[in-house]
């Protein structure tokens, strides 16, 4: 960072002025000198205020607006807005910046108490215009508020301002920087923070480590092993199925060959087969016909026999013949014609039965039960002569009925006979056929039907084998292939995961190596910084003071500067105010030097870039004697890339001769007559 110029607008006593600052190599010193209270410290503070508006370097109550301007504001300006502004033009890295900080006010009163301003906002406003150095006329980036503060923080962190804007009168390093802050600050200047951040990023369970771990699949090894075991089982099962399939195909082919052989045999004896078929069919017919005859014969015998419900044909034949041969019908006619009578003999038992049943033996109901006399009277009517003519005529009718019934029965018998004779005729035909078949087959000993049965049996077996083959090939093996395909895909996926895991583990190992390396580099860098800083602080201090009885040790942990005194060199082992100032100047200038030559100091810092910082010293020689001043003037410009120094007139007089070769800009700061304003007068 190099500050090129500072411009003021209505700011404190500087009203409207621009101060150009030197930054050329070899001519890198800007001196601003003047008597007390002309604004040297305000000048240094204005730089700090411009860069760090929140630092409250002027305190909350300090009025930043130029008093002369305020006093000159007319009443008509009441209510108008004004601002006190500092603009710093600087360069850093590849950029050119205009950093402008302003505090805005409203002109509120001009009464008896004088003119008065009121802040429009409690805090100053900062705005940065950023251009590439290589393209200064290009469109500038405009950064404000938080972005502006962040940009300044990245250029020169606020924590470090005390080292680069050093108030020699206050020896502020001893006042404000405690040991812990010092350690942190030096670390930042030497860019150790980046190393620490890197190490923190790389450490175990750090963000990068966790990110790598998160990408690993912790189950993939186990899952892959399980799947491989399952795949092995399936492959074995598939091999079993394939063997089974091959055996079944072989078996099927064998059966097909046997079947083909049988078929050929059947084809060769086709005619014999037909005769055998015909013979078998005839035998079956014969058997069926014989069964029919037997059945029909039983029906016929049943008809001959008769039973409870039907009178048999033999009895009917006998009865019809008896009716014809005995002449019984004629006899019955004669009995009727001759008036033969029938007297009913009523026995005691018959009478008792009639009385009990109330029905006569001829079937007529006898009413008046209970009155024996009346009943007997009634009964007399039924035992009158000639009352059996009904019985005889009934008998006649029964006998006459035999002939038609017998004829009907004979018809049934005829039907049976015809059926039986027809069957017998068919049986004869079957027997003739069988005989003919036997004649044709007399020289043939085989049985084509057995061969056909064999073909059927073999076809069934072949069908079963084909089913098995289909099941094995289309289902069992195919299913396993599908499962294997799926498993292989999963295994491939797990293999990829495992490969990725291996890669990630390698990365983690590598990360650890890098971390260890970075840690060792950081340690060596820290040692180197401590070593170099200590050496340079001692060299500068001893050059400034000419005192070799004191040496300073830099603490490795916090860079604390501790004086060590030579044995018997001093009675009182306390640094004087001048010595303390020289120590601080030695430390600050050494630090700036170290930052400027960081690559050389860290030796191994290949990626580090050296940084240039301005050293702004406010009256640093206040407590110095002449020798100290002259030495400081010789050594400080060589340590810094840019030195901006304010001096009291007396110190300027002493130093001018020694510092002159390095000075590019020199301003005499003086108060204007009849005014509170100060003006930078360039020599």
């Amino acid at each position: 960072m190099k500050i090129l110029s500072i411009s003021y607008s209505n700011f404190r006593q500087f009203k409207d002025q621009t101060v150009d600052l030197s930054s050329k190599d070899g001519k890198n010193v800007t001196v601003i000198y003047g008597s007390n209270h002309v604004g040297k410290t305000t000048f240094v503070k204005s730089i700090i205020w411009c860069l760090y508006p929140d630092s409250e370097i002027f305190g909350k109550g300090d009025d930043l607006f130029n008093k002369d301007v305020l006093n000159s504001l007319p009443i008509s300006a009441l209510g108008k807005q004004y601002e006190a502004k500092v603009t710093i033009e600087l360069e850093h890295g590849a950029y050119h910046y205009l950093v402008s900080t302003s505090q805005k006010y409203n002109f509120v009163s001009r009464g008896s108490g004088g003119p008065s301003l009121e802040k429009t906002s409690p805090k100053p406003t900062q705005i940065i215009f950023r251009n590439l150095k290589s393209d200064p006329s290009g469109k500038a980036d405009i950064l404000d508020n938080f972005r502006a503060a962040s940009e300044i923080e990245s250029i020169l962190p606020q924590d470090l301002k005390d080292y680069f804007f050093y108030d020699g009168e206050a020896n502020r390093i001893d006042e404000v920087a405690d040991k812990r802050e010092l350690g942190k600050s030096v670390s930042r200047i030497m860019n150790f923070d980046a190393r620490d951040q890197l190490i923190n990023l790389l450490k175990k369970n750090g963000p990068i480590w966790k990110d790598f771990e998160k990408q690993k699949d912790s189950t993939s090894f186990e899952n892959q092993a399980q799947l491989e075991a399952k795949r092995e089982q399936l492959v074995s099962k598939k091999q079993d199925f394939e063997k089974q399939l091959a055996d079944t195909i072989k078996d099927r082919d064998l059966l097909e060959a046997q079947r083909d052989e049988k078929k050929a045999q059947i084809e060769a004896h086709k005619e014999a087969g037909q005769w055998q078929t015909q013979r078998r069919e005839s035998e079956r017919d014969l058997e069926r016909l014989q069964d029919s005859i037997e059945t029909e014969m039983q029906y016929m015998l049943n008809d001959l026999s008769g039973d409870l419900g039907t009178v048999g044909f033999l009895a009917l034949w006998g009865a019809s013949k008896a009716v014809r041969t005995t002449g019984i019908i004629d006899k019955l006619e004669e009995i009727k014609k001759d008036g033969q009578v029938h007297y009913e003999h009523l026995t005691a038992a018959t009478i008792e039965e009639i009385l009990n049943n109330g029905v006569c033996i001829c079937g007529t109901p006898i009413p008046g039960r209970g009155d024996i006399y009346n009943k007997l009277k009634e009964l007399e009517k039924h035992v009158s002569p000639n009352d059996n003519s009904g019985l005889l005529s009934g008998l006649k009718n029964e006998l006459l009925a035999f002939e038609p019934v017998a004829k009907n029965s004979a018809s049934n018998v005829s039907r049976h006979l015809r059926t039986i004779w027809k069957c017998q005729k068919d049986i004869d035909s079957c027997r003739d056929t069988i005989k003919e078949c036997d004649q044709k087959l007399r020289n043939f000993t085989g049985d084509v039907s057995v061969w056909n049965d064999d073909v059927m049996r073999l076809s069934t077996l072949i069908g079963a084998r084909n089913e098995s083959i289909k099941r094995l090939s289309e289902h069992d093996i195919s299913d396993i292939d599908k499962q294997l395909d799926s498993i292989n895909k999963n295994i491939s996926s797990f293999e990829a995961s495992n490969e990725k895991n291996k890669y990630l583990n390698a990365c983690l190992e590598c990360l650890d190596d890098v971390r260890e390396f970075a840690e060792s580099r950081r340690e060596s860098a820290r040692k180197s910084v401590v070593e170099n800083l200590q050496k340079r602080v001692n060299e500068v201090y001893q050059y400034l003071s000419g005192d070799k009885t004191v040496t300073f040790k830099i603490g490795e942990a916090n860079f604390n500067v501790t004086p060590y005194y030579a044995m018997g060199a001093r009675d009182k082992k306390v640094l004087s105010q001048a010595e303390s100032g020289m120590k601080n100047l030695a430390f600050v200038s050494s630090l700036v030097y170290m930052a400027r030559h960081r690559n050389d100091v860290l030796r191994d810092a290949d990626d580090d870039e050296s940084e240039e910082f301005p050293l702004v010293l406010d009256a640093p020689f206040s407590n110095f004697d002449k020798d100290n001043v002259t030495r400081a003037c010789q050594v400080l410009p060589q340590n810094c890339s840019q030195l901006i120094i304010t001096l009291l007139d007396k110190d300027q007089d002493i130093s001018v001769e020694y510092i002159k070769p390095f000075v590019s800009q020199r301003y005499h700061l003086e108060t204007n007559e009849n005014s509170t304003d100060s003006t930078f007068e360039e020599d």
Binding site: G312, L314, W317, A319, V341, A410
Partner: protein, 180 residues
């Protein structure tokens, strides 16, 4: 009591004839069964009647038709060894059928020693005594035994199915004529 509503017996050789030609459960052991042989010479047992009661009924008509009777005294003296019992349970359901046969026997028998009037009385009334009932049964059996003898004589000669069919055919012709 009617002679056709109680158990009755067929005795002696007539009982053997009944056993020979019936297939049902006929009491007692007969000497042989009626056999027929087929065209292949295969002999099988055969029957003409399913039950003894049906054969007795048919034999009565055949005896009457053929005029074949066994004298009454002979009937009475037939040995009772190996009787076939016609149970009342079989005969009673056919009682009216048997009564018709019996009436026809009595009315047509001019040699029975009874006037027409007496024969009409006989066929109109149950026997009044046990002895009269026995006598009536013996009278009935004269025709039945004659018919059984005829059946046996006829069918003993029928030894093949062909002969049986031919015989039956002839009987059929007797009933319906040649044209049927």
């Amino acid at each position: 009591m009617s002679i056709f509503s109680k158990d009755q017996k067929i005795s002696g050789k007539y009982a053997d004839i009944v056993r020979k030609y019936t297939s049902g459960n006929v009491s007692g052991q007969g000497p042989e069964k009626w056999n027929l042989s087929d065209d292949d010479g295969k002999i099988s047992q055969q029957f003409l009647f399913k039950a003894a009661v049906d054969m007795v009924y048919a034999a009565g008509w055949i005896g009457l038709a053929e005029g074949r009777r066994v004298p009454l005294e002979e009937v009475k003296n037939v040995t009772t060894k190996g009787d076939v019992t016609i149970f009342a349970g079989q005969i009673t359901p056919r009682e009216s059928r048997f009564w018709t046969l019996f009436r026809c026997m009595v009315l047509s028998d001019d040699g029975i020693g009874l006037s027409i009037e007496e024969r009409v009385k006989k066929i109109s009334l149950d026997p009044t005594t046990k002895e009269q009932g026995n006598d009536d049964w013996y009278y009935f059996l004269t025709y039945v035994y004659g018919g059984l003898e005829f059946i046996d004589e006829t069918f003993s000669k029928v030894t093949t199915y062909t002969q049986l069919l031919r015989f039956i055919s002839n009987l059929r012709c007797e009933v319906v004529g040649e044209d049927d």
